[in-house]
Structures are given as C-alpha cells and as structure tokens.
C-alpha cells in the first residue's frame, strides 16, 4: 500500500492519492464491520477491487511504462508527436478516462502489427506485446472511484412540456415549438438566447391559457394556485408569501430558500407598485417562476460544501433524477413527501419507488426517451422509403411499428421478465395494419394494438420486428450490413469501427460480372478483400441471416434479383444457422452480453453522459447483481437507480485533463 502511495505521489496525481487513501479507509473498515453477512460481501468486493487496483498499478509501473518508453515515445513522446499522437499525458495519468481510447487504440495497432512500424529498430517480443494487450483489460482498475462530472441539468423539451402539464394542467404540446433535442448520452445541456426567448413565449402562452384575464371570474386552475382574495384588512403579502412557497415547492422541485422567496415577493411588489391588482401581480409572480433557473434546471438544495469534489445528491435531486428518468416529468406527491422526510436515498425505499413508477402508465416515457433511441426507432417516422416500392409505409403503419416495439418493451418491464425476452419472446403486439406485414391479416382486425401469440419462431423479439428491420434498411432495399451492425452494436453492445474512407465498394466490380448475382453473392465479394473481411465476416452473416425479411419486414423467399434467399451462415465459434429462428437462438444465448449492453446504454442515458473510467467497474457489479436475479428488467432498472454514479456527482473537473485550452469566457 505504501508503495502505491509513494509512487503516485511521485507522479503528482492527486486522484491516485485520493484512491489510495480511500482504500486505506476500507482496510480500516474491514476490522470494524467484519462478521456481518451482507456487509461482509461488500467489504470483500471492495477488497478484491483494492487488490485488483494494486496489481494493475504494479503492472503499469513495471511493464507498461518501460514498454511505451522503449517502443513508442521516440515518435509519440514529448517532442515528436507523429500523427498528432503522444503518450506524454497518458503516461502521467494512465487511468484518466480521456486516455482510455488511446490505450485501446494502441492495443489494436499492436495486435494488427501496425505499430511499431516495420522499419523501427526496436521491436517488442511477442511476450512483451502480450503483456501489454492483457493489461488493457485490467486498465479500468487504474481509475479512481468517480461518479462522473455532473453539472446542473436543464429540463429537456419533453420534460419541460410534461412538467408544465403537471404544474398547470396545460397540454404538454405547448412546448412543441422548442428545438428538438437528443436526450441521453451527450445530451446537449446548453441554454441559448433563442431558447430563453422561447421559454418566455411559452410562459406567456401558458398563463394566457390557464389564467383568466383581469377582472374576469377566476379559472379553476387559478383558484387552485392562488386561492381567494385575502379579506380586506389582512396583510396580502403574507398570503402571497405562502402561495409562493407552495408554488415553488412543486415548480423548483425542492423547498425554496427565503432568498428565493424574496425575489418573488419583489416581483409581486413590482406589480402592485405599477397599479396591478392582487391577481394580476400574482400572475407576474408565476411568470417569474416559469422563467427562473430553479424551474428550468434541476438545482441542488442548500449550499455546496466548500472544497468537496464528490458529493451525494440530496433527496430532492434524487427524486427529480428518478422521476425524470422513468416518467419524464416532475416528482409526484409521494416522491416529494419521501424527499421531504429525507428517506428517498435509502436503497430499499428507492427500489420500492422504482417499482411503483414503472407500474404507472407514465413510465411509457422510458420507452419514448430511451427505448426508442436504443432500438433506433426514433428515425422511423421520418425515414424516406421508396414510395413506389413500399406504398405500405404510411404514417399509420409507421406508428403501428413503433407501438409494437413500445408495447413489447413495456410488457417486459411491467411484467418484470428476463431481458432475454427481447430476443426470444413468443408473442408480440399487432393491429390490422401491422398484421399485414406478418401475413396475419385475417387474424387481427381493427386499429387497436393487442397482444398476439406467435407460432412462427422466425418472428417474436426485436430481431424479427418490422419496425427494426425497416429502420436498418435503405429506402429501396435491405442492407445486410446495416442489420449486422445494428445487431452487434444495439443488441450485443460491440463496437463496429466505421469503414475506412475510400474503400472500393461492391459495385466497383465489373457490371456484367455482378449483374446476375444475388445481393448476398455480391456482398460476399467484400470478404475477398482483407481490409473489409475482418469486420464483414461477422457483420454479414448476421445480416444475411435476416435476409428473409424484406426492407419493411415482410417474409420473402426470393430477393430483388429473383434469386433464392440463402439465410445460412456461421458465426465465430462454429455457430451455424440456417434461418432467422436459428440465428435468434445463437444471439439469444448471449444473455450476459445483452444484459451488459442494456446496462451500459441505460446507465449512460440515466446519467446523460458517455461512460468512462470507473463506470466500467460499476457495470461489472451491476451485471453480476442482475445476472443473479435472472436478468429481470426491473432489477436492471433498480440497480442502475441505486448505483453509485446515479446517487453521487463530481462537481469539480479533475485539473489534469485540460490540454491547456481555457473554457469559455
């Protein structure tokens, strides 16, 4: 232990130091809590982690640093930075998330024998190379415990509309003129002058909808929000103070401070001083609330502890984070009461609330916000299809396809099924329009979606789902490559690198030579080129395995060229298949990969950022806990909500990351 600390000190890494100290705390803790079952397991886990961290450190110092210094830094060091690449910073802070990609690329280059270049004098031995390659899988243990940077978050467009609805009963569509935005990882949290302008426009619009004009009888909402006119002789400011307190508890999603209430009292006074009546002045107060940062952003309660760089979320923030994750709207009365009582951060309470929120119809927001994005269905409504070839792709067909996936997601979530049902479910949801795609037109009538049992094992689950088969196709034909990439990335969580620019495509082949080939035969030409073969040998078989489904998901036995579909293929590990059903079996057997992928995607969505560094250790633990409970969907959600990065936030950026670039002025 002391060795680690001193080594870290030497390189001046204050985070390394923090980890070491934190680790010593654990050692101390072991002595105290040893003996109790659950705590024991947790302590054991932390001890394992500490051991793994020490090993990774040791390997780094003894093997990796000499390796890089010997074979890499001559060209990628402090002075020479070939290709803009240097190991200078990565060597100093190897565990920093920023450098994860660089290390991984280095391994890829080593494996491919791209680096060191042939002409380099010094070449590593195969054993040395292997040590480096193996170390990369341990690399996560160099990352300090870190929940990730989290800055105050602005409500997104959907959340903003829903929150206005909850607060004032207006149609959430009142926010439709706001710019569309992408939520989840990389959510663009910024607030532009245009957006601010629109917030004021929407506030005015909302108030004119829910409040009566001056001197007109009050509306119902108005009575609920503002109550009756205080009787003559009483202090109206006292009544206003109370109203502001109640309004802000919902609108700011936490109790307002006296200072914050003073601002609103000031707005009321402004109205009165300018000759406005009691209700007209309250209207101005409500408008002020709707354009206040406390409404537009989820802001912390209380004052930040000075010097802290990692803090736990307060109960009000947890209530908001949970509610916006599962419902895309503000916390309801029960969540708010638990936050007021200071109980919400307790894992058991939180787990109970996850189940309650998921059971509520509002949880469809989880599909609209997350599920649709995960499956790539967000694009379906506006995707171009060749209208002459696929006249079926009407708006009602597209919305039925979307709903099918939504109801499936919903069913797995509410019924708390294993996530493997995403692949192997033997039922789906259809209406008459969509049943046509399945060839079940006679069996389902009417526009209402309903649960339908499927006997055909080629169908069922997301791999045979028309909406997904359609989004992964081109406007006029299927794309086995797109489908292959989709399965690998969206289902199994693998990363497929983009094709290098300027690779020769299929059609470069002699036209007459390829004219009579099926799409499959043409695509297979890919794999005769070694540049392409590496990825395509995995991508293409999966895509071909789904070739029986045309570009909008209908079953077919012949492709566009008239040739018979050959859906047979083989995946690494001699896994052979000859139909979509058999392919589904092979994919479905990889529950651990599916689970890990879903954890990563949902965690990233819940945190609103890309995952990095310490997150990998968090995911390892979540994956274990979820597997232990039969891969149940609600367990997955609960584990994410109660995870360390969901319940904490880092408020300061690590100082070392900067490449010298100053932030905005």
């Amino acid at each position: 232990m002391s060795l680690v600390v001193s080594e870290r000190r030497r390189v001046g890494d204050r985070f390394g130091l923090a980890v070491s100290l934190w680790r010593s705390t654990w050692v101390a803790l072991v002595c105290v809590v040893a003996g109790t079952g659950a705590a024991n397991a947790e302590v054991a886990a932390e001890l394992d982690l500490a051991a793994a961290q020490a090993t990774a450190q040791k390997t780094f110092k003894e093997k990796i640093v000499p390796f890089v210094s010997t074979y890499c830094t001559d060209c990628h060091g402090e002075k020479k930075r070939k290709g803009g690449m240097t190991f200078m910073y990565a060597l100093r802070n190897p565990g920093m998330a920023t450098f994860r990609k660089q290390w991984k690329q280095s391994v890829a280059s080593l494996k491919a024998h791209d680096m060191p270049p042939e002409e380099a004098k010094k070449q590593p031995t195969p054993e040395e190379t292997q040590v480096f390659i193996d170390w990369v899988s341990e690399m996560k243990y160099l990352s300090p415990k870190d929940p990730g940077l989290f800055v105050i978050r602005r409500l997104n467009k959907v959340e903003y509309g829903n929150t206005l609805h909850d607060l004032l009963g207006v149609d959430p569509m009142v926010a439709q003129e706001l710019p569309d935005e992408v939520v989840g990882a990389g959510y663009l949290n910024s607030l532009s002058p245009l957006l601010m302008e629109q917030y004021l426009v929407v506030a005015n619009e909302v108030l004119s909808r829910v409040l009566a004009p001056e001197n007109a009888p009050p509306t119902e909402v108005q009575r609920r929000l503002f109550g009756e006119l205080p009787p003559g002789g009483t202090d109206s400011r006292e009544a206003v103070h109370k109203i502001a307190q109640t309004l802000t508890r919902s609108a700011y999603r936490r109790p307002a401070s006296e200072g914050e209430l003073d601002v609103l009292m000031g707005v009321f006074d402004l109205g009165v001083q300018n000759g406005r009546g009691y209700f007209e002045s309250l209207r101005l107060v409500l408008k002020a609330i709707l354009v206040s940062p406390q409404f537009l952003f989820i802001t912390p309660d209380g004052v930040l502890e000075s010097g802290a760089d990692i803090v736990a979320l307060d109960d009000f923030q947890i209530a908001s984070r949970l509610s916006y994750l599962l419902w895309s709207t503000s916390p309801d009365a029960e969540l708010s009461a638990l936050a007021d009582a200071g109980k919400l951060h307790e894992p058991a309470v939180l787990g109970e609330q996850v189940r309650r929120l998921l059971a509520d119809p509002r949880s469809r927001a989880l599909f609209d916000g997350f599920g649709a994005q995960w499956l790539g269905l967000g694009m379906l409504a506006n995707k171009t299809f060749d209208a002459a070839k696929f006249p079926q792709m009407t708006p009602s067909m597209r919305s039925a396809m979307y709903d099918e996936a939504r109801l499936m997601f919903d069913s797995i979530t509410r019924e708390n099924l294993s996530i493997s049902s995403f692949i192997d479910a033997d039922y789906t949801f259809l209406n008459e329009t969509l049943a046509g795609i399945y060839g079940l037109e006679g069996e389902v009538k009417g526009s209402e979606m309903r649960k339908v049992r499927l006997n055909n094992t080629n169908r069922g689950g997301i791999l045979g789902m028309p909406g997904i088969l359609a989004t992964t196709s081109f406007p006029n034909r299927t794309s086995p490559v797109n489908r292959g990439v989709w399965v690998l990335e969206q289902v199994l969580g693998e990363h497929v690198p983009p094709p290098p620019p300027d690779v020769p495509t299929l059609e470069k082949q002699d036209k007459t030579k390829i004219a009579n080939l099926t799409l499959r035969q043409r695509t297979e030409l890919h794999r005769t080129n070694p540049v392409c073969a590496n990825c395509h040998k995995i991508l293409d078989p999966i895509g071909f395995g789904l070739e029986n489904f045309d570009a909008i998901g209908r079953w077919r036995d012949k492709d566009d060229s008239g040739g018979a579909i050959d859906a047979a293929g083989e995946l690494p590990g001699e896994k052979r298949f000859s139909s979509p059903a058999e392919l589904k079996k092979i994919i479905g057997a990889r529950t651990d990969d599916l689970s890990r992928n879903l954890i990563e995607k949902l965690l990233s969505y819940a945190l609103g950022r890309q995952l990095e560094g310490y997150d990998e250790i968090v995911i390892d633990r979540l994956a274990q806990a979820i597997a232990n409970d039969g891969y149940r969907m609600q367990t997955l959600v609960t584990q994410i909500v109660t995870s360390y990065p969901f319940m904490h936030r880092r408020v300061l950026e690590p100082k070392e990351t900067s490449n010298g670039k100053k932030l905005a002025n």
Partner: protein, 462 residues
C-alpha cells in the same frame, strides 16, 4: 398606441400564407443615424451550408476568363448574378488529425470555427466561438435579433465518431467554445420570431400581442435571484448558469429593441418625422408556409425568411444549415439514395451524377436567395450589394474526405468591400483566413485570429 412593432402594423396575414407589404424599410432604425448625410445601409453577413463536398470538375469554373460566360453545371443557377459572385481556389480546410475518424462530425463543426474540438475531452463540447457568433456579438447589437440560425431539419442525429459529442455532428454555430447554438427548423416559428414578437396565442384569440411593460423589470429581479443562486453552486454549475444569465440579458436587449421600435412607430404615427426616409419600391414578399415534405420548398422558405430578416434589418447575421451530414435524401430529384452514401461514389458515373444533382440543387437554393436580394432595392443599390453571402461545404470531395481546396461561393458586394464577378485562383490560405476576411469586410473587428487563421485573403477584397 400601436399594438405591435412596426412591421406588424404593416403586415397583413391571409389564410395559410402570409403576404407582407414592406414599403419604407429604411424607417426601421438605422436610417435615422444621420439626418443629412447620404445614408449607407449596413452590411449583412450570411452563411449557407451543404455537407459532403462537391464534384470538383463540375463545380470549379474552367478559368478566370470564362467565369462570367460559362459557369460549370453545378453553379449554372447562379448565372444571372455571377457578376456579383466571387469564387476563390486554394482555401484549405483545417487538418483533422488526431480525429481522423470523424470527417463528418468535423466538416460541420469546424466550418465556421476553423478550430478542432478538444481531443482530450471528446464527450463534452469544447471548440471555439464561431465566426457568425463573433459577428453577432458585434453587428448584432444594433438589431432586434443578434443573429438568426436556421436548419432544414432537426439537429437530432446521433452518431458517435471518434467519441466526439453528437452536437459536433449537427451544429456549426457556437456562442462560446462550450455552447452550440441550436437552429430553428420550423418556418412558422421563425416567422413568428421575426415579425410577431410574441407567440401565436394572441393571434388565435385576437387578444393584444403587446409586450407586458413590466416584463423587463420582472426579468431584472429574476436575474438578481439567479445571481444569488450562482453564488452557492459549484464552479461547473456556475458556468452552466452563465448561459442562462446570458440568455436573459439577451432577452432584455431584445425587448428593449422592440420597445424602441414601438416608440418610433408611435412617433411616426403621430406625424413626427424622425428622419429623412428613403421611400422603397420593393415588391411585396409573400411567405407561404409549405405543407408537403418537398425539401426545395422548405429550403426556399428559409431563404425567403433570411432575405426578409435582412431586408427589414431585423438581424444582420444569419447561418443556414441547408443540410446536416446525416441520412438526408432528395426524393424530388428522382432517387432516394442518401446523400452521404452516394458521395462515396468511387467515380462510378451513376453515383457521381447523383452527387452532382444534389450539389446543383443546393447551389440553386442559394442562387434563389441571392437573386431575391438582388431584386430588392436598398438605398442607391440593391440589398445584395450590402450583403456577404457565403455558400460552401466542409469537405472538398466527399468520396475521399479531402479538404485541400474547399468549395465556397461568395455572393454580394459587402457594401463595396468585395470585388465580385471573379474567379480568383492561386489563393493560398485556409478556411480561418477566409472567415477573418469576410468578418473584416462586414465591419467586424477581428482582434483574434479565427481558428487556424494567420492572415487575411486580400485578393478578394475591393
């Protein structure tokens, strides 16, 4: 008192389409700067973007001598205004190493910044203020809107190249290094923002659309409260809240500009002539909000709105992302191939032809816009004389992702600052140099180099 500001008083809305009669535009603010001296209209600066590069031999004119007489097919649509156009060969793009795997995220985000994103923290946005926003900070201070940002489609594409934040894929305007500016995609809301001051509620209910005179006072108090909140937040939170503070201040400025115009309009209505005004004989502009999904119609209306915004001096800076580098296709050209995939054409004739059609289509929308500007009289000349309109792409050749000689077309005289009607060859400069030059021509002091810029391209100046 007038219910609304000047343009509304003269606006008549009819049914779905709105036809605007716009005489006397010089009344709107800047004309009164001098009561006796000849009035000089302000210079406006506009940018219009197309991704994925061009087919070079269809884009570049054969020689400077034949520039006016035989435009290549891609820019044929500009023939009527070629004498007011300017092209220059030899503007290189920013080298993108170490982010080589993100050509499309970078072609757009570097377009107006000439700067690479922070490669060490790829998942957050950290690049540089863009040229249009530098202009907005300066010449935008005189107008109701500092700048206008438009796009043909929502900026919601998700693709993660080189681990870069998705925003790089769909934004070219950055208000600060960390703050991308969203663009408006709905023509109706652009129209409302430009000319209707406050939402549609009033339009529907027939109620007053007048600004609440206490709104500025209310915002002042809210701003004070936000500053209190800022004090108890962490450093990063404070930084985020600064965007909010900036937004509110900009809102206050906008309300002040509107009030100023209301006052001016009231004075005029009362018969008090503010200044010598130049009567304009501009034809009325008709705005029809398209109902179908024809791309050309959407692009035309965005062009119309830009013309209108410039003509009425509602803003002096505009940026229009005609198309983002993602799954866009152009069914109205007779094929459904996606723009990006056909640009990897490997010199097959069929695909090259499609790319060429798409490029010509995009240039034609630009040509439409600048021709409208040329048809509008302003002062002694035309609106186009006082504009600098830049059309371009962030790649030279989409097939190979090259950026050695980026395609740009400049239209407009820039108030006499640019020498048009020419193809300038042998220019040796980069995209930052070009942006610096255009800002200078628009009267924006360039006190810091824009991205990789090291000089001005004086060859294109008058």
């Amino acid at each position: 008192m007038e219910k609304n500001w000047l343009i509304d008083r003269r606006t008549c809305l009819r049914g779905l389409g709105a036809s605007l009669a716009l005489p006397l535009l010089e009344t709107m603010g800047w004309a009164e700067q001098s009561k006796t001296a000849a009035y000089k209209p302000p210079v406006r600066l506009g940018f219009m973007y197309m991704p994925h590069g061009v087919i070079m031999d269809q884009f570049w004119p054969a020689s400077p001598e034949t520039f006016l007489t035989s435009p290549p097919p891609c820019i044929e649509s500009l023939r009527p205004v070629l004498d007011q156009c300017l092209m220059m060969k030899g503007i290189s793009g920013i080298p993108i190493a170490p982010l080589n795997g993100a050509p499309h995220a970078l072609e757009l985000s570097t377009w107006l910044t000439a700067t690479l994103p922070d490669a060490n923290r790829r998942n957050i946005v950290n690049i540089a203020i863009s040229a249009d926003q530098i202009a907005a900070n300066y010449i935008g201070g005189f107008t109701a809107l500092p700048s206008l940002e438009l796009a043909t489609m929502p900026q919601t594409h998700k693709e993660n190249q080189e681990g870069l934040n998705e925003a790089y894929y769909s934004h070219c305007s950055f208000r600060s290094p960390t703050q991308p500016v969203p663009a408006e995609t709905n023509p109706r809301s652009v129209f409302n923002r430009l000319f209707k001051n406050r939402g549609q509620a009033a339009e529907k209910s027939g109620a007053s659309t007048q600004t609440d005179p206490l709104e500025r006072g209310m915002l002042d108090l809210v701003l004070g409260g936000a500053r209190d909140l800022r004090r108890r937040l962490s450093y990063n939170d404070q930084h985020k809240l600064d965007e909010y503070l900036d937004g509110v201040r900009s809102l206050e400025r906008r309300i002040a500009a509107i009030e100023y115009r209301q006052k001016e309009a009231a004075l005029e209505a009362a018969g008090v002539s503010v200044s010598k005004r130049n009567a304009s004989d501009s034809p009325p502009i008709e705005i029809k909000i398209p109902v179908g999904d024809k791309r050309s119609e959407y692009m035309k209306i965005m062009c119309d709105l830009t013309v209108l915004a410039f003509q009425t001096d509602t803003t002096r800076v505009s940026t229009y992302i005609g198309s983002t580098p993602n799954g866009v296709s152009y069914p109205e050209l007779g094929f459904t191939d996606e723009h990006h995939s056909v640009t990897h054409h490997n010199n097959q004739n069929e695909k090259v032809d499609k790319v060429e059609k798409i490029c010509a289509f995009n240039v034609a929308q630009f040509a439409y816009m600048v021709q409208r500007m040329r048809d509008l009289k302003e002062g002694e000349g035309t609106l186009l004389d006082n504009c600098i309109m830049m059309w371009g792409s962030g790649l030279e050749d989409g097939n190979k992702h090259t950026r050695e000689n980026l395609p740009f077309i400049i239209a407009g005289g820039g108030g006499g600052s640019l020498k048009t009607g020419r193809l300038v060859t042998g220019v040796s400069g980069n995209q930052g140099d070009l942006l610096s030059t255009l800002l200078t021509c628009a009267g924006v002091p360039v006190d810091r180099p824009i991205g990789i810029s090291t000089k001005q391209i004086t060859e294109i100046m008058a």
